[in-house]
Symmetry: C3
Subunit: 170 residues, 3 copies
């Protein structure tokens, strides 16, 4: 049952191999489970190839048409030539929120030294918060755990509402 104050979420997986079904996606089920446990609501999930225009188009559709509160992307944040998710994200956000991506990298770095390879960015487009998570399924969940407490409070402030999302942390 959708409630007024539930956080509406869209998921975008950026991956050449998963969009062409060479590899099976394991991230959407994990993220869906996480979202439901938080009491958030999954509105839509997609898998797109690592093409800047396709990722951008999906981000705009989720933010401007579906008007989700939160877009979680996974994949395409590394140093490979085909990794363009941060570039696509930067083209649609109006304000960058550097602390989310810094925290994701620095907290995961304690256990996984290659977590610093993620170039993920976080930012705001209108009333939607967009967060780039790593492509590895467990890495995506671990990253979300790091920052999840700050998400409801961020949405309230950026949307100019007081206390509409359940988990106000202030």
């Amino acid at each position: 049952m959708e409630k007024e104050n539930q956080i509406k979420v869209g998921i975008i997986i950026a991956s050449d191999t998963r969009s062409s079904q060479i590899n099976k996606d394991e991230t959407i089920p994990l993220l869906t489970d996480f979202i439901e446990k938080e009491g958030w609501i999954l509105v839509h999930a997609s898998i797109v190839p690592d093409e800047i225009d396709l990722i951008k188009e999906k981000l705009l559709y989720y933010a401007d048409v579906l008007k989700v509160d939160l877009i979680l992307t996974s994949g395409g944040t590394g140093p490979a030539k085909r990794d363009v998710t941060p570039e696509a994200t930067r083209e649609v956000i109006e304000k960058e929120m550097p602390g989310f991506s810094e925290a994701i990298r620095m907290e995961n770095f304690k256990n996984v030294k290659t977590s610093i390879l993620s170039r993920g960015v976080t930012g705001i487009r209108r009333d939607t918060l967009i967060i780039n998570l790593p492509g590895n399924p467990q890495g995506a969940i671990d990253s979300l755990v790091v920052i999840k407490e700050a998400i409801p409070h961020c949405l309230e402030i950026m949307q100019g509402k007081g206390g509409t999302h359940g988990k106000h942390t202030k």
Copy 2:
């Protein structure tokens, strides 16, 4: 008594509600107390609304006319639509010093998970170091405590002086 080697400081509070006296400012007294205990000298303090041009004008006045060593801003660094202090700061600095703002966010994040909502930046304009602190009075002090040891050394290096500020940490 002002001494040659004392660090001269300007404070700018960016807040719609405090500049219009809807809310009382509690940050200036706390920062003033901190500055005096460090042996620094407060030259001027102002409260301005969250308007990019007004914040910018005040930053330029403190840096170029009053020629303070250090400008501490507080407020306007979050995800709200009216928060524009980082944008105003970016327009006047010549060099960004990312480490200060990273350290503020990551150290505070250990205790306060919403500290990553701050988009604060730090940078240099001519001989003035400008640091964006959060708007919450205690958050501003906690942030200053994190970085205070690096400030005198930074001023010496950027101003091309050797050992003129008391607390040289090298």
Copy 3:
């Protein structure tokens, strides 16, 4: 003996006083020792003054002509007016890898509070990873220790090769 899978490294010291031989360089011997112990191979090392065009020229020579895998710079990352290594680096990289420089600052910050004065950046130009290390010899080594595990894995991914560098960490 150079092997196919050895990481080829170039070192650039940016320093007015060391390039004019006012001060003796102590960083190249330390870095050379570190590189050999890792099983990497030093291709070339240079000392250049803090001039943006000279640093840039050397970066391009190492990346595009010598085609090294990794360029380590040391010096010129601080707040001094002559410090321009990050600016030179930004002009030649195609992709920034923010996690490396964040980790260098935040890990060193635990012991050395002035480590946040480094404005060092990390990024990719074609098949070459460029990392700005601090100018202090021990600071350069300490920084390299923080990130060394991520370097071989980063090179493999960005160069599109699987397992060609020995220390694949995934």
